[in-house]
């Protein structure tokens, strides 16, 4: 059965310019609107709950299948990450085929098979499809779930989380969802190292039993196959499959903020601010507002001709791009307007976001804007039909969302009927002006400006927990910088003990994305130092200073220290730098305030050395220990911020040393982190002047 759709964005489309009357000075008019035919898939219902949708298309000698298990939003709680791990485990071999044999069986056919936590897919040349599809079924029904695979995937997941720890974009999306939906909502909860770490293989098996099931499943088969053959194959592979019955969760509606507020997350190393303006919406696809809301969103921020882009990028140059998006469906979803903006323009960008939202709510969009937006939807609908699987997606979307059968057949008609009044009405209803604005960036540089907006500004940490503003109070703490240093010296062992240290050696390991590097640091009074990093016995990096000269070397690339660097190192007279801070009057110390380091407060001390170079050091207000150092250097013309976080202080003899050092380098939007774990420290033994050559 075929139904027809006419693309008709405006009456102009019906005119057809004949070839002989062409005037190339004029943009050509479109030809008669093409007729779009949407062929309905053949649908079978299997007794175990699988709905099979078949699109027969013999253009290419290929068949593909995909299974979608409609479990709805799933709550993971303290085991967040378990479902993703479970999906990964489905690709690690079956009860009868270990991973290597499974991979070989698939690839021998030139086929592709992959599984995930809500189903999977298989595609192959027609003559191999049956085998590929059978392998997909096997992976889904009889996963091997070995401990070895689980350990591998879990460590990969943790590495992945670590690599994103300080990524402002990742923080922004996590915190935005957590604040908008709440941390216990399936869309608001998130994975942390802790939650992933707590997942066991048994948890994965439980999740598998709960969620991998024929219940509420949609199996789509598209390509060079008859519906009868597809049905027979689906029955052969999945007919006897049984599993838990799924019921969709009932979620309590979450309310939006009543008044505009700005939620700031401090990422001191961020070189741009991530802005997200969000509110929750309840927009089912069956709602007549669906069509005008999509168009309203497009005109506001859907593309490079939209208001947000034209304002924030083209007019003001705050950003490389500003966009908005709108969700829809059975559950609440987000309207979100977002951009990564220059730190200095953060508050101005927030103002312009609000101005544009206000504008689309109060001013009617122009006829030209509206017809362009409609043409874009008409075109991409037609272009999308090149993919034969598209009509199956239409059919399953209709079933899942309980839509009328002609939903996609009248789709463009409904778009084309939208008026400027409709746009304004839905903008007022769904694109909130009283809204939540999440800003992730360098709080020290953006807070003042944001506070001037007059909206309440709240601080949250990277995991969406409120931070008490008190800790960030602008008031200077009533302490002297020299006392902070003195307290530190006393705490780690005292002047007398520190002066006894003439040399030291610390060895440890450094983990870099799954690789383990060996680190060897040595120091010798007055100011000799060397650090060597090796991997599998090969020296990867070495930096050394022998009191007069030094160099840095990476592989065979060697660079001598320049005069400034030598001068900066020569000012020290012993292995503890802080003693020189107090004894050498050429050092300038200044208390800059109290900042959070991890979850504790620390005094920020600016240390200016005799050569004029300033670094920031952070001393914990309670433990008195040095917990962080921060410095800026110019590498190849760009600013690089290096921070070293120090923790796990342990006693060696009479003096305390940090056994954990996390080094972070950030420059122009990029950031890399390395954690060094010290395994042994020796004092006054085994180090000679030759070590620093």
């Amino acid at each position: 059965m075929k139904k027809y759709i006419i693309i008709a964005a405006g009456a102009l489309l019906m005119q057809y310019a004949q070839a002989q009357t062409i005037d190339r000075n004029q943009k050509p008019k479109p030809g008669p609107a093409p007729v779009l035919s949407i062929k309905d898939p053949v649908i079978y219902n299997m007794p175990n709950g699988i709905t099979v949708l078949v699109v027969e298309d013999h253009r290419l000698p290929k068949v593909s299948a995909s299974l979608l298990i409609d479990a709805g939003p799933r709550t993971e709680g303290s085991k967040a990450g378990v479902i993703r791990l479970m999906g990964g485990m489905l690709n690690e071999g079956t009860k009868t085929l270990p991973k290597a044999a499974f991979d070989e069986a698939v690839e021998k056919l030139g086929a592709n098979v992959s599984l995930n936590s809500s189903g999977g897919s298989a595609s192959a040349l027609t003559r191999y499809f049956k085998e590929a599809f059978t392998l997909m079924g096997q992976a889904l029904k009889e996963p091997s779930f070995t401990q070895e695979s689980f350990d591998k995937l879990k460590s990969q997941a943790i590495t992945g989380l670590k690599s994103e720890e300080k990524n402002a974009t990742a923080i922004a999306s996590r915190v935005t969802n957590a604040l908008a939906y709440g941390k216990t909502h399936p869309n608001g909860e998130f994975e942390t190292e802790q939650t992933v770490q707590s997942v066991t293989l048994a948890d994965v098996k439980t999740a598998y039993n709960q969620y991998i099931t024929p219940s509420r499943s949609y199996l789509t088969i598209v390509g060079d196959i008859t519906p009868a053959n597809a049905k027979a194959l689906a029955t052969e592979v999945f007919g006897t499959w049984k599993g838990a019955a799924l019921t969709l969760p009932k979620l309590t509606p979450v309310a939006n903020v009543a008044k505009t507020e700005i939620d700031v997350i401090d990422v001191p190393t961020a070189v741009q601010s991530e802005i997200r303006v969000v509110n929750l919406i309840d927009l089912k696809k069956s709602n007549p507002d669906y069509f005008p809301t999509l168009l309203a969103n497009y005109i506001l921020g859907g593309g490079a001709e939209s208001h947000l882009f034209m304002n924030l990028r083209e007019k003001h140059g705050f950003t490389y791009g500003a966009y908005s998006s709108v969700g829809s469906g059975r559950w609440q979803s987000l309207f979100s307007a977002s951009a990564s903006v220059r730190t200095a323009k953060t508050d101005s960008a927030v103002t312009e976001f609000l101005n544009e939202i206000k504008r689309i709510r109060t001013e009617k969009v122009s006829a030209e804007e509206l017809s362009s937006a409609k043409a874009l939807y008409n075109g991409s609908f037609a272009l999308g039909l090149e993919d034969p699987a598209r009509t199956a997606t239409f059919a399953s979307t209709i079933l899942i969302n309980g839509l009328p059968a002609d939903f996609y057949k009248t789709y463009l008609q409904k778009f084309n009927a939208v008026t400027a009044q409709d746009i304004q009405r839905v903008a007022q209803k769904y694109l909130n002006y009283d809204t939540r604005i999440v800003v992730v960036g360098n709080a020290a540089q953006i807070m003042e400006g944001l506070k001037k907006s007059g909206y309440p500004v709240k601080l949250y940490d990277k995991y969406a927990s409120p931070v008490t503003e008190g800790a960030k109070a602008a008031a200077m703490p009533n302490v002297k910088a020299s006392d902070v240093i003195k307290d530190y010296i006393a705490t780690i062992g005292g002047v007398a003990e520190l002066k006894k240290i003439t040399s030291m050696q610390a060895v440890g390991t450094m983990a870099v994305q799954g690789m383990t590097l060996n680190v060897d640091q040595k120091k010798m009074a007055p100011n000799k130092e060397v650090m060597t990093i090796t991997m599998g016995g090969n020296v990867m990096m070495k930096s050394t200073f022998d009191g007069e000269k030094g160099y840095q070397m990476q592989m065979s690339n060697k660079k001598d220290l320049v005069a400034d660097e030598v001068a900066q190192k020569k000012v020290f007279t012993g292995t503890t730098e802080q003693l020189d801070y107090l004894n050498n009057p050429a050092f300038k110390l200044e208390v800059k305030g109290i900042q959070k380091v991890g979850s504790s407060d620390a005094y920020q001390i600016a240390v200016t050395d005799p050569t004029g170079k300033t670094t920031s050091e952070y001393y914990d207000t309670k433990s008195k220990l040095l917990v962080k150092k921060e410095s800026t250097t110019v590498v190849n013309g760009t600013n690089t911020v290096s921070t070293v976080e120090l923790s796990d202080y342990r006693k060696v003899g009479m003096v305390m040393f940090p056994y954990k050092q996390t080094i972070t380098q950030s420059a122009v939007g990029q950031e890399q982190s390395f954690a060094i774990t010290i395994t042994d420290i020796k004092l006054n033994s085994g180090v000679t002047a030759d070590d620093f050559k």
């Binding site: 991979d103 690839e107 192959a124 191999y128 362009s372 990093i533 990096m541 990476q554 592989m555 190849n636």
Partner: protein
């Protein structure tokens, strides 16, 4: 072992059944306009969509020393507008008429395209003919795109992990050939270029006699031909493009080099070999070798290094096939502290095996299947078909039908040829070994 035997038998049985199953044939018509523009038309009425594309046979290899980056720069410049398209309007015209468009540049050619609902065919032809006939090349456009290209270079090469790997390899493998310059060129060359030089470059390379216009989709051929005539007929023919391939002398002594990348934390070890250009049979043989070494998780290098020894995070082997030569690149990223040199040994062992033993019949059949699947998937959309047809004409001696012959050619390649190509091209004394390392300032200090 029981399992493997079972699979093996099934595969043979199926390969016998499947032997006569042929992939689809792509039908087309082609002709030249009097001005030399080659036109290829492919009709397909399944979806009311049309792809309009122009492939200019100009890439970075046509640039002269001191003026690198021109071909790619034109990829940007030709969106700046024409005598009838106002500056900044090109993209807007496409999207507000329901279309999608873009362009890309390689060492050998530049490809511009639009995909529209089929009632906008005329608009697509107008847009492409406007920029071929009379694009606006002026100071403001050059200045604007110069900035954009610099951002693009930062984004896609300098700030992207492993972004400069191909350029570094090209520098090592090519001494005389302009392939050594990379596609995007140097910014100092672009900064130094004068407006007249850009205009001269356009005149030299963007003439209809150096281009292929391919239309694929829901078209009426007679009407389409008339429209093409109207829009592209008036474009004047240019002087013949003269291109002389710069010959390289064979590499006889291995070169070892180190490059640094500030964006990476994990080094890469690469071995690169110079191989013949993409129109040769050996170039296809090298593609097959790639599949054996690193195509999928059951490939030889992946299985050995990632799954079994676990000393690699990732492995790859591919033929970067170009018109005059190819760069054959084999490499790996180390895992868990593995020494890059050890990975090289692992890779060399696999190459040695290819040089010594014929691949098994089962592996041979697997290759056939993988290439057939790849071919079918490459021709699913109108844009892909348009590009593949243009490629045939541009790179396979005006043989547009190459799209239909390639798979047959591949099927004729024997196991012996695979072994012999490995022996001929993948020798230790013929290569560049590149250690691609994390750069200073990004690792610990």
């Amino acid at each position: 072992m029981q399992i493997r035997k079972h699979v093996w038998i099934t595969t043979i049985a199926m390969s016998m059944l499947g032997i006569q199953a042929n992939a689809q044939k792509i039908e087309f018509t082609e002709y030249d306009l009097p001005n030399g523009l080659h036109v290829i038309l492919h009709q397909d009425h399944n979806t009311p969509v049309v792809a309009v594309s122009v492939m200019y046979h100009v890439g970075s290899k046509n640039e002269v020393a001191g003026r690198t980056g021109f071909a790619h720069f034109f990829e940007h410049l030709l969106f700046e507008g024409s005598e009838n398209i106002k500056r900044g309007e090109f993209f807007k015209i496409v999207s507000s008429n329901g279309g999608q468009n873009n362009a890309n540049t390689t060492q050998d050619r530049t490809f511009y395209y639009e995909v529209f609902p089929s009632n906008q065919l005329q608009l697509g032809l107008w847009l492409e003919s406007e920029r071929m006939l009379h694009p606006v090349i002026n100071e403001i456009g050059v200045k604007t795109q110069n900035e954009v290209v610099k951002e693009e270079k930062r984004q896609s090469l300098d700030n992207r992990p492993y972004g400069n790997v191909i350029d570094d390899i090209a520098k090592g493998l090519f001494i005389n050939h302009p392939y050594r310059n990379g596609v995007i060129g140097t910014m100092t060359d672009l900064d130094a270029a004068k407006l007249d030089e850009f205009k001269a470059f356009f005149k030299q390379f963007y003439a209809p006699n150096n281009a292929v216009l391919t239309i694929a989709g829901d078209i009426d051929p007679a009407k389409t031909k008339a429209l093409i005539n109207t829009y592209f007929g008036p474009v004047p023919r240019g002087a013949d493009v003269v291109y002389k391939k710069a010959e390289e002398t064979p590499i006889t002594k291995a070169v070892t080099d180190t490059a640094y990348d500030a964006n990476i934390q994990i080094p890469a070890i690469l071995a690169a070999y110079r191989v013949p250009g993409k129109d040769t049979r050996d170039s296809k043989v090298m593609e097959m070798i790639s599949s054996i070494l690193s195509g999928g998780s059951s490939s030889r290098m992946y299985k050995k290094m990632v799954d079994e020894k676990k000393d690699a995070l990732q492995v790859f082997a591919f033929n970067y096939a170009l018109e005059d030569y190819g760069m054959y690149i084999v490499g790996a990223l180390p895992n868990a502290g593995a020494a890059p040199a050890g990975l090289l040994t692992d890779m060399d062992e696999e190459i040695k095996k290819l040089q010594t033993d014929l691949i098994s019949e089962a592996d041979y059949q697997k290759l056939q299947n993988q290439f057939e699947d790849g071919f079918v998937s490459a021709n699913t959309k109108m844009l892909g078909i348009a590009e593949n047809l243009s490629n045939g004409y541009t790179f396979y001696h005006k043989d547009t039908n190459h799209i239909n012959e390639e798979l047959t050619e591949l099927r004729k390649i024997t196991r012996e040829e695979i072994r012999d190509a490995a022996r001929k091209y993948l020798n230790n004394n013929q290569r560049l070994i590149l250690y691609y390392m994390p750069a200073k300032g990004k690792t610990a200090q």
